[in-house]
Amino acid sequence: MLWNFLRDFEAGDFSSWVREGNFIAEPFSTYYTLLGLHSIGMAAIVGITWMLSSRIFGFQQEIPLRNVGKLIRLGWWGFYLNFASGMVLLAAQPRREMMTGMFWLKILAIVLAVWVLWIMQKAMANLQSIPNPSGKGPAIDVVPLSLRVQAFAIVALWLIAIVAGRLIGYTQPPPPM
């Protein structure tokens, strides 16, 4: 039943517009314009979480983890853009995507990465700090092991999502009838 609905949906105007139409004006096809927005969103959410993870691993210690809340919010906006454009891109050929294992691996990795980021955000907001031993300079964040594990997980999950996302086009079956 869902399959029949999706087949009718793919034959409809909206799906055709995403696959073959123009976004506002020629030559900017809807599909590639959305891919551009999808990439900007990905660069923001993945880039910001990877930089924060680097800090959590112990590099760039001058960055105060207690003060990165606004940057994480910007990362979330990147994710919303990535998610919204991804949903519209999915409308181009939903049945073909759903028949591709790499698509499901990508979705699983993204769901887990978002869940881990949500946990990390709460952990960073409640981070303890100790006075700088030198007596001057900013307080030092105490990074618990659990946060380091989460940072490692989020780096790995986004890597899996990126690689799986790239492989979708190479492992897709032919378009279903």
Binding site: S39, M42, M51, Q60, E62, P64, L74, W158
Partner: protein, 167 residues
């Protein structure tokens, strides 16, 4: 030099790793994955550095954000290497693509922008603490950097729109 000269195209086509990429089924997708990883490193770093210099996230010391610059350099190097892999796989189709030519020009411009920032602004802005505003010249260079790299990213995704033929 005429970049579309068949002899030039053939030279690029035979340059390493072009023949290897064309005969392999996995090198091109591997390069694509690396290109996206590099892109995320580059942008992740620039979001911290450029937006702070432009006046956002003032709770962060500028010097602290500048410690992320090596990730931008690493990202750029990864993208140059993976980009060369793509280019040598089908140089003719890239050289006749106006979006690719514009992208390369903007990469050059963005790199010169980064060099200008390093020469003229880096030392000055390193002294800025939390809450302090960067000089207008540094703000302009940071804004230009973000704009140029965003445009480079979009042009990369739009290459298929402007592809004329295949080589």
């Amino acid at each position: 030099m005429n970049w579309n000269d068949p002899a030039v195209v053939e030279w690029f086509k035979q340059a390493w790793p072009g023949p290897l990429v064309r005969s392999s089924g996995w090198l091109f997708p591997f390069g694509e994955a690396m290109h996206f990883i590099g892109l995320c490193l580059l942008f992740g770093s620039l979001i911290f550095v450029d937006l702070r210099l432009m006046g956002f996230f003032k709770e962060l010391p500028v010097k602290a954000t500048l410690t992320l610059v090596p990730y931008a350099v690493l990202g750029l190097l990864i993208n140059m290497a993976s980009g060369w892999l793509f280019f040598t796989s089908a140089p003719g189709s890239y050289l006749e693509n106006p979006a690719f030519i514009l992208k390369m020009f903007l990469v050059l411009l963005a790199s010169l922008n980064a060099v200008a920032f390093t020469i003229w602004e880096h030392r000055k802005v390193s002294l800025l603490g939390p809450g302090e505003t960067a000089p207008r010249s540094a703000q302009i260079l940071a804004g230009s950097s973000l704009f140029l790299w965003l445009f480079v990213l979009l042009l990369g995704r739009w290459l298929p729109i402007f592809t004329i033929g295949t080589n």
